[in-house]
């Protein structure tokens, strides 16, 4: 496809990075199409009939799946962005450079989807810009709003390098390159602030949030667990994109990430349990209550099991096992955020919240859009470095068809 003259400078963006890269729609593409169509229907109903029509949100449960998963998990799982950029550009751990761009892309898309998700969840989304001029520095929500705006800007600038490179805009590349270190430092600070502030939200709910999760250190717990979740996401997404693109995996890098992940998880587990002991909440773990079971689930699949598994060299060296163990961490983090935002409040509020199918459709649609955008971006932008040296290559055993979700325009 040739662009009109006005847009001609952007022509390179329509050429796949790797020649002869042709996309064949498969199962995932069609599934994504169905989800998109369903999402469109739900979207119309949500804005036409109101939140109550499509969601199970209520005066008892004003926050549901869209905040608990889309926002809390979306932000936490995008924490890899600031972790890896700080590691490479500030701590000078250069060997992680190959995964900087895919991770920054993941973070960028993650935050973009958080913003889109908020457009569904906010009662009056057209007022989303209000915190820019209507200030309330005492509000954690005000702080998070500002941080997400600022960090989305930082991520856009960090990511712009790949676009400029593809366009061949040498000056822009140079400027972007020069700005990288200040951007990375700003990104790390902003992320530290809002990752923890998502936990600060719940500091104002003592007696409401179950003692298994309520602690004055909740901001710290959110921060530590987000770092672990971000590391796990890097491994998961490396593996998924390697499958989608049929390229190799940087196994030595992923093994180093896995070691860092064990340290992060062990630190988090120690801090968490020591804090609970300090607050006298350890006994709550074994009461057999619904909350206790969800807590056990969160800690077992997200923390303890992965620590054990990832400590084993046999797991770290095998791309499939490494992937699964990391996926456990991601799942555990999701359970944790849902526990804080839903399970932990159910006892006080009396009753249960279960999202509607419509809420699930929107969440699936957002996740699908993220995967689709990621797949498109890695095909058309210089995101992934080619893995050439044979010792770096460890192709997955089963060469499954590419789970790419979006047809490439040609």
């Amino acid at each position: 496809m040739r662009l009109p003259k006005l847009l001609a400078p952007f022509q390179p963006l329509l050429t796949p990075v790797r020649p002869n890269d042709r996309y064949r729609p498969g199962f995932w593409t069609y599934l994504f199409g169905v989800i998109l169509a369903a999402g469109a229907v739900v979207s119309v109903l949500r804005y036409w009939k109101g939140l109550g029509y499509v969601t199970n949100l209520s005066d008892k449960f004003p926050w549901g799946l869209w905040i608990g998963f889309d926002v809390l998990c979306g932000v936490a799982l995008a924490a890899g962005g600031f972790t890896i950029t700080a590691a490479v550009y500030v701590f000078n751990l250069k060997r992680f450079k190959p995964i900087v761009r895919p991770t920054v892309l993941t973070a960028f898309l993650g935050y973009l989807l958080v913003a889109v998700g908020l457009m569904y969840d906010l009662g009056k989304p057209w007022n989303i810009w209000h915190p820019i001029i209507m200030w309330n520095p005492r509000s954690p929500m005000f702080e998070v709003g500002w941080c997400v705006m600022l960090y989305l800007t930082v991520l856009t600038l960090e990511f712009s390098g790949a676009v400029f490179e593809k366009l061949g805009w040498k000056k822009a590349v140079a400027v972007q390159h020069a700005a990288t270190v200040p951007l990375v430092i700003a990104g790390a600070i902003i992320s530290t602030l809002h990752q923890s502030s998502l936990g600060t939200f719940y500091l104002i709910t003592p007696g409401k949030l179950h003692p298994l999760w309520y602690t004055p250190l909740l901001p710290w717990m959110f921060y530590f667990s987000a770092i672990a979740g971000g590391l796990a996401m890097m491994i998961v997404e490396s593996r998924l994109s390697s499958r989608a693109l049929g390229r190799g995996l940087e196994m030595p890098l992923l093994q180093s990430l896995a070691k860092a992940l064990v340290v992060a998880l062990a630190f988090y587990a120690t801090a968490r349990l020591a804090d609970m002991a300090r607050l006298g909440a350890i006994g709550e773990i074994f009461t057999g209550s619904r909350e206790a079971r969800f807590f056990q689930l969160e800690m077992l699949i997200g923390v303890i099991l992965p620590i054990v598994l990832l400590s084993l060299p046999a797991v770290r060296r095998n791309s499939e096992r490494l992937f699964r163990a990391s996926l456990l961490v991601v799942a555990g983090l999701v359970v944790n955020r849902l526990n804080v935002s839903l399970t932990g409040l159910e006892g006080y509020l009396g009753g249960h919240y279960v999202p509607t199918i419509a809420e699930g459709i929107i969440t699936l649609m957002l996740v699908g859009c993220g995967i689709a955008a990621f797949t498109l971006a890695v095909r058309y932008l210089p995101i992934m470095e080619e893995v050439e040296e044979p010792e770096l290559v460890a192709r997955s055993e089963s060469a499954a068809p590419a789970p790419a979700a979006v047809p490439a325009r040609s």
């Binding site: 926050w63 000078n92 009056k124 003592p206």
Partner: protein, 256 residues
Amino acid sequence: MAFLPDPKSRGLLFDVTRCIGCRACAQACKESHGFPGTGEETELDAVTYTVVLDKGNDRYLRRMCMHCADPSCVSACPVGAFTKTELGPVAYDSGKCMGCRYCMIACPFNVPRYEWSKPIPVVRKCDGCLKRQAEGKPTACTEACPAEATVGGTREELLAEAKKRIAENPGAYHPVIYGEHEVGGTNVLVLSPVPFEQLGMRTGLGNDPMPNLTWAALSKIPKVVVGGAVGLSAIYWITHRREDVAAAEHGEKEKE
């Protein structure tokens, strides 16, 4: 950063021992706001700002916004849609609201409600009849009460009245005024013949304003920003300096 109760600000005193459960207050509230309903409701909602709950043994409890001195909703709202007015009531500006509903999560008394069925929804809660009070009139509920179970006045007047009632009727009251100290003090005060938890009211909330809890974390932001900037810059300098030195020593300083 805590805000102390203003003794001159206006509030309500609700006395469980006097309430006869006629629900005239709830009805008057509906009428003055133009809301549908009878006043017989048992749960607050977007068109019910106050309810009278039957607690058995001829005891009735009103539920409504407590109009805290340092309200959680005011601190929680990212756009400052809630304000604690000098007059006393906690006011809400729907024009500022973006509908995040954090106020509903934050409120220690679970008061704010939402218009779930509207495409352009706003938060709803007792407005303390701000307009009427600004004109020097009593709130609709106070005016309607035939038993003086709900009375209005400044906070210091109401506290003095409550203490007088407790002193003059030994044994008739649980000797605590709910709202005098809870969450730093509220402008709605409650007197009861029995301990408040027996009426299903939240106790053990502590005497510190809830916003202090979030502020404890938020007040550290400047330190994180400055510390982070200095710390990360220092680490950058050290890690890259070491590299420069090593390269220079090998006499083959690489260019990136």
